[in-house]
Amino acid sequence: MATWSRGERPRMFKMNAHGNTKPETHTLPRHLRRLEAESIEIMRDVVAEFSKPVMLYSIGKDSSVMLHLALKAFYPAKVPFPLMHVDTTWKFREMISFRDEMATRLGIKLIVHVNQDGIERGINPVDSGPTLHTQVMKTDALKQALDLYGFDAAFGGARRDEEKSRAKERIFSFRSPGHVWDPRNQRPELWNLFNARIRKGETMRVFAMSNWTELDVWEYIMLERIPLVPLYFAKRRPVVHRNGTLIMVDDDRLHLAPNETPELKMIRFRTLGCYPLSGAIESDATTIEDIVAEMQVAKMSERQGRLIDTDEAASMEKKKREGYF
């Protein structure tokens, strides 16, 4: 029997069922292969151990990678759980069209949940402020949706490198009834032996990409040719300057101050959230390769563009305790 190194293993024949345009032979570096396999293993464990899992789908780059990993984990079967998007109704329009297109193309069930109560109360990021808006339209909405459908496990794409309190998050993160996270009372997690046991009313959040870094994500997207929302790529878009951040004018719900005039700038987004809360960066990166090159000289973290984290010190930990993803 011939031997070959990892990079050059022969493909006996090609049967990529989902029509992604990938080169016939591509090689992943070993550290990405390891991360990929680890995430796949986690996803399979969840499907084997839980009765009703769901994948939270935020349409962002991490969600795109998660979805790609799910396709791989269960092939040739279809992804055995639905995607769920908690829609604040303030997502960029391009995100919504990308979401619907992906679900249709892959034939995956997509659940879109909106907190109707919040809509009726008129909660929005512009007038209500980012804190209340996030609490009602994201955190509360997510809890509502999990309860409504009775999901016992929910995949999230959060990574440990994103933020300090995430660095101590478990891969299988236990939530007591009411979706409460208690950072001081987490289950120890050794080896790859996840404790999936829960009682009625309790749930599990599962972070299958815990050990990936932002760099890994971009590199993986590049090598695997994973489709992304166009907003990640630089293009001339209308923006205004607010609090030192570039805010894109996506529709007429963003009230412009008298001195604010949208101007067209070459911009893109490193992370995507609700559009009035997502800061853009000026960039000429129109391809993944450009983005990757740009990352090497980046001086600011990806969360820098997120207005919700700068509210108060340790704000992420606080939000997570309350049930934020």
Binding site: M15, R44, K72, F74, N195, L215
Partner: protein, 634 residues
């Protein structure tokens, strides 16, 4: 080194990941070291540095300078108290490797967290404060790393600036460390003088330590070879999920945890012994001809055999263990102490075991010194060597042979908390699937009737060492003292119960197992059981020791040099063995493993059998087996 290249994106096929753990005590500068690695390898962005500068003023302990420890102490409580409570995972990358660092707290009460961090680490960086040298906690951290199977250690002698970069200080600490760590099973120990605060020998060689000729820390971490670690292990494929998209496809999804497998290879399902061949290795990216350790794949087989989650596929030549009882090192992780006999749930690989229990704690390990202590329970952060019985047989390997298939967690069946973690030492071969018939009278009651404590007195030693002679004398003396004894002699048993056994390795094990089981039954009926068996292997003697309770197995090593045994040759066996008429004769062409800590060690060369027998008797008195009163006077 060009630090600008550290952010390096230029991945090559060979770029891999190293997962390591940092261990140190509260003030050893662990978090500072990680903060320094992240900062110097440019993994910290400007906005994070600004936040850090703000935090340093608020919580920092370094005056005006940036406190790198605050980068990694993530939870609010930790920042307020200046301690690390939980395991934090940090990441940085260089063009050659990406790194995942488990930062774990050093205090004794957090053994649990250190073990968690160590469980997935390939290497440990152990920090030692140059001013303090090797401390009790250094030993504790090293012992835990060793127990968790870490084989590579970097001793980072930190705060070398505070001892004026003196070589003597470094040399003394390294000498102390190597001396104590020599029996911990590390395959490599590297020592580096560093200052985490000032960056000496972290990313670049320091000018202040000209006497140090080795690599700086990052260089070392980038270049140490980790591939050989798992190369050559047998093929193991724990089935995670059965993939059945339609009636024509039945695949077994899982990750190859060790070894490799190719299409056409024969496999067995370890638990059921059913065999088949690999038909396809399916992945989303196309079929593979071969899957290797670390690959997440879906395997189809050429025969329709029953395989489900929890099964392990292996190759017929290298099978894992299948047993419902095993010995293991258990780390207790819950406030509520572990109680032998209580029912817990277990997860071993992909196998979920609904119930099982720790049947005996042989001893607990003092994590500060490594010594063995008697224990009835295990409290939070205690580590014990235990016997475990589970409701159904599980498939596993000893942890030493395979970290992935030799580890398990213990779960409270009611609260579902993860209460313990374990590393399997070896299977205990006992009766499977036979429930215990509860008996109303036990050995305690029966022994009380005879005014004695039942036990096994196990004589081991070479043929001709004098075992039977001394055993006979002990038997007679006990009888004279009105104790109820029985003597099982190896040779005699081979005339009856063990008549069908020869002298192969397997037969020797079976010979001892049967003798042990018989002895156990007799102990249960309250007797003092005197056994005389060459029993050359430690494993089998320990197996019999495990059959009975604590203090009920008294190992007597009849220590006679081989030359003397050959000279005595009471049965003429050595003569036959030497002339090749007997094969596998202990001491000639089969090994004898002397006991490392026998209860009684008899050196026969300069003492008479009478004296030796009395030595055994006095041991029995000390241990409360017999009482020295003349009951005939009553």
């Amino acid at each position: 080194m060009d630090t600008d290249a550290l952010r390096g994106f230029t991945s090559t096929d060979s770029k891999d990941q190293l997962r390591f753990i940092t261990c140190g005590s509260v003030d050893d500068g662990k978090s500072t070291l990680i903060g320094r690695l992240l900062h110097d390898s440019k993994m910290i962005y400007e906005d994070q540095l600004q936040a850090l500068a703000r935090d340093s003023v608020k919580h920092g302990t370094t005056g005006d300078a940036i406190d790198f420890a605050l980068l990694v102490d993530g939870l609010e409580a930790e920042r307020e108290q200046g301690i690390t409570i939980d395991v934090a995972y940090r990441f940085f990358t260089t063009p050659r490797r990406s790194f995942m660092v488990a930062d774990t707290p050093g205090h004794e009460q957090y053994t649990r967290n250190m073990a968690t961090g160590a469980s997935n680490a390939q290497l440990a960086v152990i920090l030692i404060d140059a001013r303090k040298g090797v401390l009790v906690q250094t030993k504790r951290h090293s012992l835990i790393c060793s127990l968790l199977g870490i084989r590579h250690v970097v001793v980072a002698v930190n705060k070398i600036d505070l001892v004026d970069y003196r070589k003597e200080v470094f040399d003394r600490i390294v000498g102390d460390y190597v001396a104590f760590a020599s029996n911990l099973g590390f395959t490599s120990i590297a020592a580096i003088p560093i200052s985490a605060r000032y960056g000496d020998n972290i990313i670049n060689r320091s000018g202040s330590t000209d006497w140090y000729r080795g690599s700086c820390l990052l260089d070392y971490l980038e270049s140490i070879d980790m591939q050989s670690e798992t190369a050559g292990l047998p093929f193991r494929f724990p089935v995670q999920w059965v993939n059945r998209p339609n009636l024509d496809f039945r695949g077994y999804a899982g990750t190859v945890v060790s070894g490799s497998i190719a299409v056409g290879d024969e496999i067995i399902v370890a638990a059921s012994h059913r065999n088949s061949r690999v038909k396809q290795i399916v992945t989303y990216d196309g079929e593979l001809a071969r899957a290797e350790a670390g690959d997440a794949v879906t395997i189809t087989l050429s025969d329709e055999i029953d395989v489900s989650r929890g099964d392990i596929l292996a190759q017929p030549t290298e099978r894992p263990e299948v047993a419902d009882q095993f010995a293991a090192r258990v780390i207790w992780m819950d406030q509520e102490a572990m109680v032998p006999g209580r029912s817990y749930a277990f997860r071993i690989g992909t196998q979920s075991i609904a119930s099982g229990s720790i049947t005996a704690i042989k001893y607990k390990i003092d994590v500060n010194t490594g010594t063995h202590l008697a224990a009835r329970t295990l409290n939070l952060n205690e580590i014990g060597f235990c016997n475990i019985t589970i409701a159904l047989p599980a498939t596993f390997d000893p942890y030493e042979a395979n970290r992935r298939t030799g580890s398990f967690i213990v779960i409270d069946r009611y609260s579902n908390r993860t209460v313990g973690a374990g590393m399997i030492a070896f299977p205990l071969r006992r009766a499977t699937n036979i429930a215990w018939q509860p008996l109303s009278l036990g050995k305690k009651e029966r022994a009380a009737l005879k005014h004695q404590k039942p036990c096994i007195i196990w004589f081991t030693g070479l043929s001709g060492a004098g075992k039977s002679t001394i055993a006979n004398l002990v038997d007679q003396k006990l009888f004279a003292m009105s104790n109820h004894t029985v003597l099982l002699d190896g040779d005699n048993l081979r005339h009856g119960l063990n008549r069908d056994l020869g002298f192969t390795e397997a037969d020797r094990v079976e010979n001892i197992r049967r003798a042990g089981e018989v002895a156990k039954l007799m102990v249960d009926s309250g007797l003092i059981v005197i056994c005389s068996f060459i029993s050359p292997h430690k494993a089998e003697r320990d197996m019999v020791r495990d059959f009975v309770g604590d203090g009920e197995f008294i190992e007597v090593f009849v220590d006679t040099p081989i030359d003397e045994c050959v000279r005595r040759d009471p049965k003429g066996l050595y003569y036959k063995a030497k002339s090749g008429k007997i094969k596998n004769f202990t001491g000639i062409d089969a090994p004898y493993q002397p006991p490392s800590a026998p209860e009684v060690h008899l050196k026969t060369l300069d003492q008479q059998p009478e004296q030796l027998a009395d030595t055994v008797l006095s041991c029995l008195v000390t241990r409360g087996i017999i009482v020295l009163t003349n009951r005939t006077e009553h």
